[in-house]
Amino acid sequence: MAMRAALRCLSVNLSPRLPQLSSAAQVSATRLLCRSGFPRTLSTDSGQCTALKFTEKHEWVLVESGIGTVGISNYAQEALGDVVYCGLPEVGQRLEQMDEFGALESVKAASELYSPLTGEVTAINTELAGNPGLVNKSCYADGWLIKMTIEKPEELHKLMDQPAYDKFIKSLEE
């Protein structure tokens, strides 16, 4: 929870000063916060936070205290266009890795979402019902989609880290 508050502060503070700051830079800034242990509110039960991991379907997952927060990447939100509706699962729903867990609608196109990990949904972002555009405006922070437990931590190792994901999307654009 502290992490998310910090992320929100980060996006709010950085935007006016650095209008060109990309989401990728936001993510790097997040990792800087983790390493330096600043601010103090960032320390979690496990004493360590992990960086964003990505799937080939452009979902990201961020783990803290054994809970994974899931969203879609900047590349994905740009490819979708303005999100007008988020179809999300029920809390308590169990998902296997790569299971379809919902859909986002933009430009009259419903695009499916795939679970990055195996686990149980513990929370869904209820802000998105009234403000689905958060997925575009703040895809790594306020536009998060679901939170889930992590049944198989080894699945995280198979996901891409930021540099690998950046390389992956470069290869798609060629």
């Binding site: 740009e78 490819a79 979708l80 266009g81 007008v84 509706y85 179809g87 379809e100 859909a103 609608e105 933009s106 430009v107 009259k108 196109a109 419903a110 695009s111 499916e112 798609l172």
Partner: protein
């Protein structure tokens, strides 16, 4: 050398909506083994369909529509309520966007451009707008609503050729208040059939998507040997 993707054109004729869904699924499933693109063309018997945002359309409202003699279906596509019926050219491209461009935004824009080009061939000036679909002024001539899973597209577009537009009077088409609908026949003040329109659609599609088209075989209708399907 650029290899243009090969798309199989499948002409289904007049089919109930449910049959159209079943056949789309057949072609979607083909993509599991390899990217084998298809362009399904059909007309539907009268039906109102809703998309993933179906909460604005409660049961009683849909029952009213059934009383008009139309079918009603909820689907997994984007877009709100619309009508399909005879005289409307319905096109379901079942493409693997991996062979084109992996962006639904791009794909929907390509569909819009295809129809705008097609209308141009008929001398009808059409345009896109912030509301997805193809418009002639304030009237929508072609509705678009798609689904994309694992980069495979389904659902598609519905172009009014000589559709009985009064069916649209019972709904707010696509949920957009204050706008109307039109058809090629209404714009040109002459009868423009689906048959006349198809070749122009295929030309425009081939050009816009930079692909090759080939004639496919219509799959057999589902055989029901008295055993209920799962």
């Amino acid at each position: 050398m650029t290899v243009r993707p090969l798309v199989e054109v499948v002409r289904l004729g007049l089919v109930p909506y449910k049959e159209g869904l079943r056949l789309q699924q057949v072609y979607v499933n083909r993509h599991r083994s390899a990217p084998v693109h298809a362009l399904l063309l059909c007309q539907h018997s009268p039906v109102y369909t809703t998309g993933i945002r179906h909460k604005p359309y409660p049961g009683p409202l849909l029952d009213q529509l059934r009383l008009l003699g139309a079918d009603v279906h909820h689907t997994n596509r984007g877009g709100l309520i619309t009508f399909h019926g005879p005289g409307q050219l319905v096109c379901y491209p079942v493409l693997n966007l991996g062979s084109f461009k992996k962006s639904v935004r791009w794909y929907v824009s390509q569909l819009e451009k295809t129809i705008i080009t097609l209308c141009g061939r008929f001398g009808v000036e059409a345009a896109s707008s912030p509301h997805t679909g193809v418009w002639v002024g304030d009237n929508k001539i072609c509705a678009i609503g798609i689904h994309c899973g694992h980069y495979v597209t389904s659902h598609g577009l519905a172009l009014n050729c000589n559709t009985d537009l009064s069916w649209f009077g019972h709904i707010v088409p696509c949920g957009i208040e204050g706008k109307g609908v039109t058809s090629l026949s209404r714009e040109l003040q002459r009868d423009v059939s689906v048959q006349e329109t198809i070749p122009h659609l295929l030309d425009a599609f081939r050009e816009q998507f930079n692909c090759q088209l080939t004639e496919g075989e219509t799959p057999e209708p589902e055989q029901n040997f008295g055993v209920s399907s799962a």
